[in-house]
Assembly symmetry: C2
DNA sequence: CTTCACTCATAAGTTTCCGTATATCAGCTC
DNA sequence: GAGCTGATATACGGAAACTTATGAGTGAAG
């Protein structure tokens, strides 16, 4: 067992594609290669990594062995880093131009970010944006995004973080709904209404239960963990649900309920990887978003 | 500006080597390539990344531009991930064999780990170890190591962490030193002795100042942030310094001073990346180290 | 001032690697 | 069961990439 020569990084990329797609042919297609090339890459990699088989071949495709499965996260990390590298190179250093990849929750990303990015781009027309919408925000340390907007305090030291304030959550309903079903006068009244709430997300369910002890998951008439869907249900007049106050202010159609009793603060942070501090466009986007989100947060008070 | 085809990952590896070495020739040597190949790789990369120059050529070598400098951390991340991938593949899945890379402080790594790893290897002869000694422990999230032993509570959720207890720090001196200079009777006495302490590390300086307010940095007769050097100075009979109690117990030559008054607990954690939970050998090493360090910690009480 | 050691660039030769074409096997539809 | 569509494996020719060889420039040492 002599020391094998280090495998070409290119092979890792093929490995990842094969694990993803489950076949040499599909992997080759996705990479712009041909099937024999992918086959050769895997064979080479198996040889370079000590000879153990990485896949079990079959006419249906390649099934990864346990070994190959263990390699997948590392190959993913390489891919994220490669993508981040290409983004970092997408604008000349010093100029505010190029690609910025932003991770945000679905509501922020879908309802709040677009207008902000429009204004940011008006300021710097050379900027391009990639937006990743997920409620489990992409890990900046994995370089899945350059800038993340998160609702929890970031814990990693390798990050630059700025708190923009507390996004206020309120209880809202469409006037049509209230006209048809009446306006609840007390918290207990809510139990008789069509409540729109979370399905499984424990943190989400807790928001309403903390408000009124009787507002448990089983009284919800509309359950979904997708906050965009919740918002849509409120707007459609289905019932009463949670919505960011600053967001609802923009649509005077929605009526806020129990404004004094129910006001759930959600601390909000803009975060960026330390490595990106030196990049002019990342800094510009970071500062702009921190400002704009600060204004958004203040609008909700 | 058409969408460029994604650059080969192999080019990123060359990029990193060129940034590291500062010349195409040296980079090529380090990669087992030739200089024209490295040259072509960089040219290709410059073309693929939008045409901007990454280096300024000169007869002295290649100086990275700001753009290239911004890419370096991402290329480093790729390299770490690639190395972690190769390590992960170094043993058959399920078997307890292959390479485990461990990050630890200099003292733990130099004085405590060797015997533990000897015993672990006796249990599993197929294991090989890589030990990274640094007081700013390598970031597991960057995959610079598989397992880290740290003196602070890990904050990242992506890590598996286990607290093994508190390593106790005590004040020690060699009997020869005490015979020559007398044994200090009170804390104030210490000011007249040859104290071995930290140089710049604020956390280190604070350890002694918390003990006696008068034990500020300026009374240290031997200042170094290298804890191995501190230990060596204590062993050589230079003076009085801080040492892990469990470590000093092994050498009955060292005498502990103020055992009741000075006992500084340092919480100790063994940590591992979540991705590695499924690996038999990583788990085995993790569990073994947690046990062994637990025993070590208890020996210091 | 010459020489040596180091750099990068370019041209030519050789190897390696990739793509095309073909054979084979499994499953699904008709 | 024939035929279609998916898969992998293998053979072979050509293009791409790497190595070798050479030239030119810079800086330090003798």
């Amino acid at each position: 067992m002599s020391e094998a020569p280090p495998a070409s990084w290119e092979l890792f990329r093929t490995l990842l594609a094969v694990i993803r797609t489950g076949s040499l042919s599909a992997a080759a297609r996705s990479l712009g290669l041909t099937q024999p090339t992918a086959s050769r890459h895997i064979a080479e990699l198996e040889a370079a990594l000590g000879g153990g088989a990485l896949f079990t071949r079959s006419p249906q495709g390649l099934a990864p062995t346990d070994t190959a499965r263990a390699l997948a996260p590392h190959a993913l990390a390489m891919e994220s880093a490669a993508a981040a590298l290409v983004r970092a190179a997408s604008g000349a250093a010093g100029e505010i131009a190029g690609v910025v990849r932003i991770a945000a929750s679905e509501v922020i990303g879908g309802e709040v970010l677009p207008a902000m990015l429009r204004d940011l781009r008006a300021l710097h027309p050379g900027l391009k944006f990639e937006v990743v919408l997920s409620n489990q925000p992409a890990d900046l340390l994995r370089r899945d995004a350059d800038i993340a907007i998160r609702m929890v305090r970031p814990k990693q030291e390798a990050l630059v973080a700025k708190k923009v304030g507390d996004v206020l959550l309120g209880l809202f309903a469409h006037p049509d709904y209230l006209a048809a079903h009446g306006k609840p006068k007390t918290v207990e009244d809510l139990r008789r209404h069509a409540i729109i709430g979370f399905d499984r997300d424990p943190a989400g369910v807790a928001i309403l239960r903390n408000f009124g002890a009787s507002l448990t998951r089983d009284v919800f008439a509309y359950r979904t963990d997708d906050q965009v869907a919740q918002l849509a249900a409120v707007r459609a007049g289905f019932g009463i649900g949670v919505c960011q106050v600053a967001l609802a202010r923009r649509e005077p159609k929605l009526t806020r309920l129990f404004p004094k009793e129910f006001a759930f603060p959600l601390e909000t942070w803009v975060t960026m990887h330390q490595d990106l501090r030196g990049s002019a466009r990342m800094r510009a986007a970071f500062d702009f978003l921190a400002d704009a989100l600060g204004a958004y947060v203040r609008a909700g008070r």
